[in-house]
């Protein structure tokens, strides 16, 4: 049980989903508290509410960070519409995340400045309340797309825009014996406990397909934690992955540690 929880905590998508209610629902609580504090003109209540708003705004940073880390992994698991929603989710977050940081800074100012200038307390609290409401709207807008990445039951409208180069979902029979379904830009063959070619170079946004032509299952697992992991690819099956970030990614087979390869994304 504890082992399972610890393993879950190593998955960025798990942490992302675990803490992402904080900048939205935490903020709702903080703003309601702040509204009541302003009405009652209570400095103490204002301080308590501002602390909640500050934590909620600042929590957007780890949420964003783990979301970024999870992007490639979730992309490879999602279906085509899910991938489109994921891209939209990412785009919205990249555009609007600064609002949450601004809110955290503003609420910190609202906490500190009135220590010296008590008169600034009310206008600052009102400013936090207004920016907080804008943040809440933005948070809802970002998470609206995020919720549709894996929840088909929530998709009541067509996806924002299809990805130009959808990734083969590893959970579908796209991992078919010997054949390729995803439009892969490059292919690596696994045979005789070797990745061939051992080093493969692609451009950002392109897809690589690994075809397991060996007699046993293998994996394609990045050496750096949480970048990409195929899970077990059965003999005769294949797995695809799209690389959205430039860099050099060494990988290996978790079953046969002597098997090593490298992906270079330009």
């Amino acid at each position: 049980m504890i082992g399972t929880i610890l393993r879950d905590l190593q998955q960025p998508e798990y942490i992302h989903v675990l803490i992402n209610p904080l900048p939205v629902y935490g903020l709702v609580g903080g703003l309601i508290g702040l509204f009541i504090a302003i009405c009652q003109r209570s400095r103490r209540a204002t301080i308590a509410a501002l602390v909640i708003v500050f934590i909620s705004g600042a929590a957007a940073w780890p949420v964003y960070h783990y979301g970024e880390q999870a992007y490639d992994r979730v992309l490879s698991m999602a279906d085509n519409d899910g991938q489109a929603w994921l891209a939209e989710h990412k785009e919205r977050a990249e555009k609007l995340i600064w609002l949450f940081y601004a809110l955290a800074i503003l609420s910190a100012i609202g906490l500190i400045v009135p220590i010296k200038w008590p008169r600034a307390s009310l206008p600052l609290a009102i400013a936090v309340l207004l920016v907080g409401v804008i943040c809440l709207g933005s948070g809802g807008y970002i998470s609206y797309a995020g919720g549709r990445v894996r929840h088909r039951e929530f998709r009541n409208e067509s996806p924002p825009k299809a990805l130009a180069n959808p990734v083969t979902a590893e959970t579908t029979p796209a991992v078919s014996p010997g054949g390729s379904v995803a439009p892969a830009a490059a292919q690596v063959t696994i045979r005789d406990l070797k990745y061939s070619p051992e080093t493969i170079e692609i451009k950002k946004g392109q897809t690589i397909e690994w075809a397991n032509d060996d007699l046993t299952p293998h994996t394609v697992t990045s050496e750096a934690a949480n970048k990409f992991d195929s899970g077990s690819i059965d003999a005769g099956a294949s797995w695809s992955h799209t690389f959205s970030q430039a860099g050099t990614f060494p990988y290996s087979c978790t079953f046969h540690s002597e098997m090593k390869g490298t992906v270079v994304v330009r």
């Binding site: 060996d214 007699l215 046993t216 299952p217 077990s232 003999a235 079953f255």
Partner: protein, 176 residues
């Protein structure tokens, strides 16, 4: 100590069973017999692997045992599919029979052990067994195989068994 000695003898006798296949020139195995030998050799190792995956509490031994079950099951699946495709009915021979009975004896011995003694006995046997299998595949099975696809399957199994042997040796060294 006595149990390990008996196990070493069992491993040697398993190896002997395979050696029999390579030395008796009078009875060069046919393709159906070779298919059966390959499938039996895999099955023997799968059974031992299943037992070790269940019994051992050493993470290295456990993960090696799981690897054996995974890899040999996959090889067996391929071999069975190929035999079906080639309309080749695997046929028993003295070699396949002795492999099976030696494998059963080994399992019986392993069941009577536990803890570090079990781990050592299992891994020692895996080293001896893979050495014997590799030798038999290279010296007897491949040279006698007539069908090109069956030959190619046996050749592809070579690097896998070699990898298993290295892995088993590494664990063996860590247990001593």
């Amino acid at each position: 100590m006595i149990k390990s000695f008996i196990l070493t003898l069992t491993a040697m006798s398993l190896a002997g069973g395979l050696a029999q296949a390579q030395t008796s020139a009078a009875a060069a195995p046919t393709d159906p017999q070779i298919a059966m030998i390959a499938v039996t050799a895999d099955s023997v190792d799968i059974d031992a692997g299943k037992l070790a995956a269940e019994k051992s509490s050493n993470p290295k031994v456990k993960s090696f045992a799981q690897l054996m079950v995974r890899d040999h099951t996959s090889v067996n699946k391929k071999a069975t599919a190929l035999a079906k495709k080639l309309n080749l009915t695997p046929e028993e021979s003295d070699t396949s029979r002795s492999l099976k009975s030696d494998g059963d004896k080994n399992l019986e011995k392993l069941r009577g052990l536990s803890g570090a003694e079990f781990d050592k006995a299992y891994v020692d046997n895996e080293v001896a067994y893979h050495e014997a299998v590799i030798k038999a595949v290279n010296d007897t099975l491949i040279p006698n195989t007539k069908n090109a696809q069956l030959k190619s399957l046996l050749e592809s199994a070579g690097p896998i068994f070699a990898s298993h042997l290295n892995h088993a040796k590494e664990i063996q060294a860590s247990l001593h």
